[in-house]
Symmetry: C2
């Protein structure tokens, strides 16, 4: 029987532990972690994420500060806000929701966040320390993937992990995490230019898809009894769904399921982990 790796269970467990930890810190040192979220514009997906982050903060005792700015906000205004938050002692984590509206320099703005408050782990200094195997904030989605593996006691040492995708927010930092001595995986990074892709994916003990292509990974690309982790969150048209669409992953779940020894569903897999790891980083950001 294929094991279903339930990200909801793992994230609920992490959030429950954080809630306790936050309560203890409040009682002992009167410390309350604070997360500032900056949302520029009204991208529908971003608006949903920000609402969910705020809700989760409230549930576990993190103070949340929300800054909703119109899409035509001048860059300088965002710079000033980031600088103010960098110095605000009540704010321990700062999150600038991406993507930003056109005309705003994402790279520049993200690198203005104090690395010690960069709970998204997007600042180059955190990315660099991640690759170097040093203390840092780890980006939330790949960190969540590692936590799912840890929770289900899936060994990575010496295992061949094949990652599909080389994005700055998933593929690259995930590879950086997995090659460190605490994970000890052998890692192959594949992408759109990879030749003979199937030859490589079929060798994976653990196959991780993070390319944003609905149902891309088919059963014939997977080795029997592999662990399959699906990071994709794709909207596809679905006339039977009242919303007119449904959410699917990068893996053809129904067909891959019988071949894998374990698999993450979408939704309910990796997606549920991202916020839990954001909350974890925010609590770790307390002095």
């Amino acid at each position: 029987m294929t094991k279903i790796l339930n990200g909801k269970i793992v994230s609920d467990q992490i959030l429950a532990a954080l809630k306790k930890e936050i309560a203890t810190k409040k009682q002992k040192n009167n410390q309350v972690p604070g997360l500032a979220v900056i949302l520029v514009g009204e991208d529908p997906a971003s608006t949903v994420y920000v609402r969910m982050k705020k809700k989760r903060c409230g549930e576990i005792g993190i103070q949340s500060f929300e800054y909703k700015l119109p899409a035509d906000t001048k860059e300088q205004k965002i710079i000033d806000l980031i600088k103010k938050l960098n110095h605000d002692p009540e704010v321990h984590g700062i999150l600038l929701q991406v993507p930003l509206p056109p005309g705003l320099n994402e790279e520049k703005l993200l690198s203005l966040i104090d690395p010690a408050k960069d709970v998204d782990g997007f600042h180059p200094i955190n990315v660099g320390n991640l690759l170097l195997g040093r203390a840092c904030f780890k980006s939330c989605t790949p960190y969540g993937v590692c936590k799912i593996l840890e929770h289900y006691q899936i060994p990575t040492k010496g295992k061949h992990v094949v990652i599909l995708g080389r994005s700055n927010i998933v593929g690259k930092p995930l590879a950086a995490m997995l090659i460190q001595k605490d994970m000890n995986a052998t890692v192959t990074i594949c992408h759109s230019q990879t030749q003979n892709l199937k030859d490589l994916t079929k060798q994976a003990d653990i196959l991780i898809a993070a390319i944003g292509k609905p149902l891309f990974v088919t059963s014939d690309m997977v080795k029997k009894n592999a662990i399959v982790i699906d990071v994709g969150i794709n909207r596809v048209e679905d006339k039977n769904d009242p919303r007119g669409y449904k959410i699917v992953g990068d893996v053809d779940y129904d067909n891959v399921l019988p071949k894998a020894s374990a698999i993450t569903p979408v939704p309910g897999g990796v997606g549920a982990m991202t916020i839990a790891m954001l909350m974890t980083n925010t609590v770790r950001a307390l002095p």
Copy 2:
């Protein structure tokens, strides 16, 4: 016939081009690049490297500033020196020769170097930008590997590059460079914990050894007509050599040579590239 990838030729060509560029800059803007090298203690290999760097600077017109400090130098003194050099307008590159004597915090000291003068590419912010595919100083040895491939017009797009070794100065940054869109390689990172190593190395279109184990890569680990790049520089005893030792790479050169389509010798391969790339970074550090 196996092609010998001659790092000496490539580096000489790079140095000659830099020399011209430096002369032009001097004439046009009265700009002279300056490199400060800090050597703490008397590690024999480091002493040789520092001497070679100084010599190369002189040959191509880079001003070199040498700071030789005794092994028992207090950390604060090095911190003060780095801070002074960070603000010195004649110094465009700062190199803290590693390894440092015991008791000195390498990680801390390296991260005090102004990232804009970090011509070794060891500062976490440069490492992070490297992984993120952004402008940065690239560490010299892996950068040299890429330049050898470029010089000999060895395509990397879609090719499977297998890297042996996950060090912070070679394996990790090299993987970070090769997965970017300008190189477009599919990259596998292997290390001491990798299972079935030979199965992986035999798939490599380009096999890169950077593990510091003399003659580790044997002929049976290499695919016919693979490109083999040897980053290793190991001293092994040799009674026939007047020094009592000789330098060999991580690859069993004599036996791998007939199987490879191209190979770097040791010495005369990658080793010659490191200083050329350091000089390149120093010239690029000019404002």
